[in-house]
Symmetry: C2
Subunit: 139 residues, 2 copies
Amino acid sequence: MKAEDAIEQSLELVENSRVALVGTIGEDGYPYIKAMFNAKHKDFEIWFSTNTSSKRVSQIEKNHKVSVYFVDMEKIKGLMLLGIMEIKKDHKSRKMLWEDGDERYYPLGVDDPDYTVLHFHPELGNFYYRLQNVIFSIK
Amino acid sequence: MKAEDAIEQSLELVENSRVALVGTIGEDGYPYIKAMFNAKHKDFEIWFSTNTSSKRVSQIEKNHKVSVYFVDMEKIKGLMLLGIMEIKKDHKSRKMLWEDGDERYYPLGVDDPDYTVLHFHPELGNFYYRLQNVIFSIK
C-alpha cells in the first residue's frame, strides 16, 4: 500500500467514525482507553468534549501524550494517531463544540465549569489494513 | 447501576466481541492502541495471538502493564480492563490458540517462531454505560 493511499483511507476512516478510542497514561502507569465522540475534526486534528472532573482530564494534565484510535470493527481497518492533547477551557473553544442538547450533560450550559474541550494535535499516523502497516508523519 | 449488573453486562460484552482494543505503552512514552482478535477468553482472562516480531511484543517485553478495551460502538457501552500481559511461547499455549487457516499468517505452523501467544491477567474492570461508571476489582 502506498503512503498516499493509506492517508486517503485514514482520512475516510476519521470522516466516517462517530466514535474514537482515546488512549492516555494513568498515574498508576497503565495505558487507559476510553470511547469518546469524534466531536469535530479537520484532517487528523480532532476535538472532543468531556467532563472537567473526569479522570481523563487529570491524566492529560499530568501527561499530554495520547493516542487517538479509529477502527472499522468489521473490516479490521485501524488508524492510530499519536500526538499531544491540549486542554481548552476558553469560551471560544467551548462555543465551537457546543451542540443543542449538551445541557443534558452540562446543565449550566456552554460555560459550565465541568465542560472541557480537548484539542488533539497529531504528530504520527499508523494505518493498518489487511496485514499492512503504513506509518506516516503529520505536518 | 449495581456492581453485579455491571459485571454481568461486562461479561456479555466480552462474550459478544470478536475484537478487543489493546493498550500498551511505547518506549517513546506514548500510549499505543491496536485492534486484536479476542481469540479466547475465560471470564475476563483473555488470550491473543500476534507476530513475535511486532512492535506490540517488544513493548510488552519492556512493560507488562496493559489495558484491554471492549466496546459496543452503537450503544457506547465500554469495558476497560487493566492488568498484566504475559508473553507465552511454549508449545501448549500455541496449540491451545491455533486454528485452521492460521498458516496464512504463520506459514511454519504452530511452532513458527513468529507466532506468539499473549495471555492477559485482569486486575481491574471499569464498565461504562449511559453516563455511569462502575469500577470493580477482579480476583
